[in-house]
């Protein structure tokens, strides 16, 4: 039986998280189908058809799918799921919202946020904020899974030539309605897809300091900007900057932690980064236990001098 991947997209382009999820699906060794559920999402479906290793793209197009409401998305996935052995989605806010609903309607115990695949029914997943790894075996006939995207290297976005098939969407549930969206606008790379991330913590002191001190560094490195929970809770920066157990899980090539002490829940979100740099005035801060390179000192002096040094 084939594997169905619920794509993360914005009706025009396919998000990188989809490529990581297809990579996970490939490890199952079956034919891969990708579902593009949205509204006027023809461009996204065409992009999905190019993804390496994808055999078929299912496109469900309806006005009530345009905002990815969980009730309508789950009804659609459930209507398709019965002919698949596995249904996978990235563990993004959409995936996490929709998939448990799918699982419950199929009477299946979902396997959340997998970081490894041992066999078709056995998976590895982090628990306790990544302080332990559990290997679990599912008895359910259909495996409903969300995928930790940082654990699987993305497949190429091109090279494939899948067929696109239209599928019917169940009627609008009428239970929920989209009202509005406040998207944080940024010219920077997306946090979960960035190669370099510059992240600030409580030590930044204010939102203004993020702009004045940290932004020049991110600009210099072409980096995305992140933050610890403490900085978000303090209102320095918006919620979608949060890196950690309950925020975003990231694994860039370089993660620069500035004024972040390194609470367990923050480390859970970034400890798989290739190289970690910590700048903190407290030499006992736990962040230094995971950092490849640490500098102890006042960030308000060190960060500007780092920017200067990088110009050389």
């Amino acid at each position: 039986m084939a594997v169905l991947v619920l794509a993360e997209h914005d009706n025009k382009t396919v998000k990188k998280a989809t490529l990581n999820t297809v990579a996970a699906a490939q490890k199952l060794g079956s034919e891969i189908h990708v579902l593009i559920a949205g509204h006027q999402a023809g461009e996204a479906a065409k992009a999905a058809a190019q993804i390496a290793g994808v055999k078929k793209v299912l496109q469900a197009d309806a006005p009530h799918l345009g905002e990815f409401l969980a009730e309508n998305m789950a009804a659609l996935v459930v209507s398709l799921a019965k002919t698949y052995s596995h249904v996978l989605a990235p563990a993004t806010s959409n995936g996490k919202n929709v998939m448990p609903r799918v699982a419950a309607l199929l009477d299946v115990q979902q396997v959340s946020d997998i970081s490894g695949i041992e066999s078709a029914d056995t998976f590895v997943r982090p628990i306790y904020a990544g302080n332990a790894l559990a290997t679990v075996k599912s008895k359910d006939p259909i495996k409903v899974i969300t995928v930790r995207t940082t654990a699987f290297d993305a497949v190429p976005a091109s090279g494939g030539s899948a067929t696109i098939e239209n599928v019917a969407a169940p009627a609008d549930s009428g239970l929920s309605a989209f009202v509005s969206r406040e998207v944080s606008k940024s010219e920077r790379p997306e946090l979960t897809a960035a190669k370099i991330i510059v992240s600030g913590g409580r030590g930044m002191g204010s939102g203004e300091n993020f702009t004045k001190v940290l932004e020049p560094l991110a600009d210099r490195l072409g980096a995305a900007m992140g933050a610890s929970r403490a900085a978000v809770d303090a209102g320095f920066v918006p919620n979608d900057w949060q890196v950690g157990q309950t925020g975003k899980i990231v694994a860039p090539d370089l993660y620069v932690a500035v004024g972040i002490s390194g609470a367990i829940q923050h480390l859970a979100g970034m400890k798989d980064s290739r190289v970690i740099v910590a700048i903190n005035k407290d030499e006992e801060a736990p962040i230094f236990q995971v950092a490849d390179f640490g500098v102890v000192g006042d960030l308000f002096q060190l960060v500007p001098s780092l920017v200067e040094e990088l110009k050389k």
Binding site: S180, R274, E309
Partner: protein, 249 residues
């Protein structure tokens, strides 16, 4: 309206968990246990609805071992009116908990169910969505703002790109994110009062729910540790390391 809040007893968030030597799980004996932090936010939100005159009664529910009574007493001390424990010594996975909560919801007929978005032990992030699905109710997960407006709720959700607001018809399920509110501290007089509040104990069998687990845990291991690196003297040395040793810039 009646509000039902589900709470879970978990290893306290300050505890550094240890994997058992035999690889069967995580050490929970003699470890401080507390209410899941997201569930505390759920109880607090229900309290605010009650204080605003929107909620008339708050019922807290927990599923698990007898010791969950402690967690329920904490919720009663925050201000919930009464508690229900669905007692089971078995391992309860999210689907089973959602089925138990569904049975309780059908008994209690609340207009709103609030849960934490995820428990910090198994990090599943499933129960609320599953409960909504089983009831055929709408859901608003990862809530950072909740407004009840007659027969509807307007919920602002924390999503990957920022914030999203949805309108859901009641009855509905809402799961809480970190910034929905800041839970109050429980006071001694309220802890005393909580002892006198009703705590009903039910069994899964009495609710007609099969809770047998669908996932079996084959092993639990500690993740490979990151080697602590080096502290460098200054920025010049840092940039040199990044350029020539790590080659990331």
């Amino acid at each position: 309206m009646k509000v039902l809040v589900a709470v879970k007893r978990v290893v306290d968030f300050n505890v550094k968990v240890r994997v058992k030597a035999d690889g069967t799980g995580v050490e929970t004996a003699n470890v401080k246990m507390s209410m899941n932090p997201f569930d505390e936010i759920a109880v607090e939100e229900a309290m605010r609805l009650k204080e605003a005159g929107t909620a008339s009664e708050i019922v807290v529910v927990s599923c698990g071992a007898q010791a969950c009574q402690e967690t329920l007493r904490t919720a009663l001390a925050i201000g919930a009116d009464r508690a229900i424990l669905v007692e089971s010594a078995a391992e309860l996975q999210p689907l089973a908990v959602a089925k138990l909560l569904k049975a309780v919801v059908q008994k209690e007929s609340p207009k709103l169910v609030i849960l934490g978005k995820q428990a910090i032990d198994d990090d599943s992030n499933q129960t609320g969505q599953m409960l909504a699905a089983l009831l055929g109710w709408p859901q608003a997960t990862f809530a950072s703002k909740l407004k009840i407006d007659g027969e509807k709720a307007q919920v602002t959700r924390e999503v990957d790109g920022g914030l999203e607001t949805v309108s859901i018809k009641l009855p509905a399920v809402v799961t809480t994110d970190l910034r929905l509110n800041e839970p109050r501290y429980v006071t001694l007089p309220n802890i005393m009062k909580a002892k006198k509040k009703t705590l009903e104990v039910l069994k899964p069998e009495a609710l007609g729910v099969d809770v047998s687990p669908r996932l079996s845990t084959l092993k639990v291991i500690e993740p490979s540790k990151r080697k602590a690196g080096v502290k460098v003297a200054d920025i010049k040395a840092l940039v040199e390391k990044l350029r020539n040793e790590a080659k990331v810039i």
